[in-house]
Subunit: 287 residues, 3 copies
């Protein structure tokens, strides 16, 4: 009898995410084992339970999902899980704390529908947050000229350095985008603008956006008003506004959800996949 | 493919109720997501996870059950959940903390088999506890003349006012029932007596009960001896005693369980049901 | 419709064991209700939820598994659960905290393949730990002459007394095995040696082991190097070494896992089984 599909949901928050649980069920998970308050110290025992229970031919039917609201904690859990595996004793793992990987993938896929990424100049507002950093990393990897925007030019520069260390030949420049002059400078010649800032914080005025003659696609990942890009509606899904194709948070949400489910299904095809931003982006692209 | 039935069990206790979980499985829930220690502060995120994951056509396959031993906490969770929903983005919800709604419904349904509620005079002993208050509310709504009995006439009066505010034309009177005189007064002309007090506390002596010439049905909701109505056996299920049909806690337990399962199944027929005492009573009546 | 198989996993640790959960799924459990941090004080309510929800004919479809890393806590939970049941209102229970019962059963079954237990002289190293004590108890029950080895002769004597109180006609002698002389004395005439000490602690040197002319089977239950019996490989599974059939922790792991699953399946055949070391050993023997 074929073993049932078990997903071990490791969540760093005090309650395991209901959102992640429902999506797991809808992606075909048969038994969901949810653990909350998971720490780097406690994760090893949980992973051993996933590694040491099924034979080599059945290990692909067990997988791990890392969630929770804190992306840094999720990344630390992923590192510890990788270190726990040895040899063929491993199961597939997906990291999507705070939905950061699936959201970043959906945003870049939306942009790619309108602009060839390798030729693009892209501004990522809120570029030092977990989603923004991933958006910038995915764009840089595709050969785009990426401008990382932040209130703090130091933090923007730190993110540029971090991405450059991971992506060879990345074209990255940090921008302080908290003044009209800084924004204007960052927007020069830009064809893609993606806003990945915090909920309810406007990062770009409609006036500044429409003053640009070059923006071809604008993506706002904030569903809570005021949105990050003034004038974009959360429901926008390729909506034409001032010559740019516009996307709001709900507009990319459908794609994000499809990517999330496809990535979960992908986990159960092998026992050695590690799905972080790049792998999840490729899964999204293939849909 | 039809989506699977997911029940989000929100429990205010440190451990999610096993009782509620087993009944959920037996009512056809396919995936149970149990969360414990749920508070008004933490419930919003959990509810968002239920609201924002499935499309409009599939939302009816997700539902919420509110449980735990503290009925006041359950009511506060229900209020917060109602406030979290907006527009069509909602799922059905059942409140049954401490089994209060299903127990109250089962008690009134037992009484209704023997007495027309609109013509009845009913005494609810332990009427200020969560089950007693619900029994009184259900009886008042059906047009019965309801006497709310309590050791404290102030608390009884407060419950009467609370119910009157919710049920138009309710006939309610508070009674202090901690003295023989008070009990005697409260029992005058009563056709229904229902005891909903704490475990192991006798609220009515056999002598006082049999002295009444009018009681046609007596329901005791306490399974732990001594029972609330002296002389009633927990197993009684319409047992004739001194011209009254008598019910004990175990005797109404079968009906309570049937109502519980029917209410759970009802949740999955629509995405906008809110099942509190009245709705659960109607479901019980229709069985 | 037949009721679904529900296993209530009661774990004394802060996280419920993933290992136990996966094995439960693979043994055919349809709904797993995992509870962590379970204490003697909190277990009664959980057990009531299992006892009071299904009718007599369906109670066999609900069962309890006691796990967690602390065997003493598991034993205390089992005692409290037994005290909670009354009359026919009960469900089957399996105790396997820290895998102690399935491991002890697998070790003795491995030994029994090579030596008739009733004629055997057996030395149990690490005999005062939870696994060692169970190994000694199972061997004593089969009529073997059992030597309980420990660093502390007092602790060894206490274990002997405890087993003697439970097993009539048990042949038991305590041995301090922390010196070469003590080990040598304990090994005299022994045909079975089983090491059940802590991870990474060598309890018997290869020299001492090979000096014995009588050992026919050697079982080491420690997978973490250094192993308990020097020269035994964790993968050994009846491997011939110096005229003795040798077993390592991984070598008996397959049998242990088969016993674990068979015991879980056994739970769902009746509603009144209590599976502790002896019962689990018999299930293992019958495979």
């Amino acid at each position: 009898m074929a073993k049932q599909r078990i997903l071990l949901q490791l969540d760093s928050d005090p309650q395991p995410s209901v959102f992640d649980a429902v999506v797991a069920v809808d992606a075909g998970v048969e038994h969901l084992l949810a653990r909350c308050g998971v720490t780097v110290e406690s994760v090893r025992d949980l992973v051993h339970g996933a590694m040491f229970t099924r034979g080599p031919d059945d290990l692909r039917q067990t997988a791990i999902f890392i969630g929770g609201s804190d992306v840094a904690k999720g990344e630390a859990l992923l590192a510890e899980i990788r270190a726990t595996f040895f040899g063929p004793l491993r199961v597939s793992v997906m990291l999507d704390s705070n939905g950061a990987n699936t959201t970043a993938a959906a945003a870049v896929i939306a942009a790619e529908k309108h602009v060839r990424l390798a030729d693009a100049a892209a501004l990522v507002l809120g570029g030092t947050g977990p989603v923004g950093e991933r958006v910038a990393r995915l764009l840089a990897r595709e050969g785009a000229n990426v401008r990382v925007g932040s209130r703090s030019s130091q933090r923007a520069a730190a993110v540029c350095e971090k991405i450059a260390a991971a992506v060879s030949d990345a074209q990255l420049t940090p921008h302080a985008t908290d003044t009209p002059a800084g924004i204007g400078n960052a927007l020069e010649g830009v064809t893609i603008v993606i806003s990945a800032g915090g909920a309810g914080v406007q990062l770009l005025s409609a006036a500044a956006r429409t003053a640009s003659q070059t923006i071809q696609v604008a993506v706002d990942l904030n569903a809570v008003p005021p949105v990050g890009l003034e004038g974009i509606d959360p429901q926008d899904r390729g909506t034409e506004r001032d010559t740019a194709a516009c996307y709001g948070a709900i507009g990319v949400g459908g794609t994000k959800m499809k990517i999330h489910k496809a990535a979960l299904r992908r986990l159960f095809t092998t026992n050695d996949a590690i799905l972080d931003a790049e792998e999840i982006f490729e899964i999204g692209r293939s849909l």
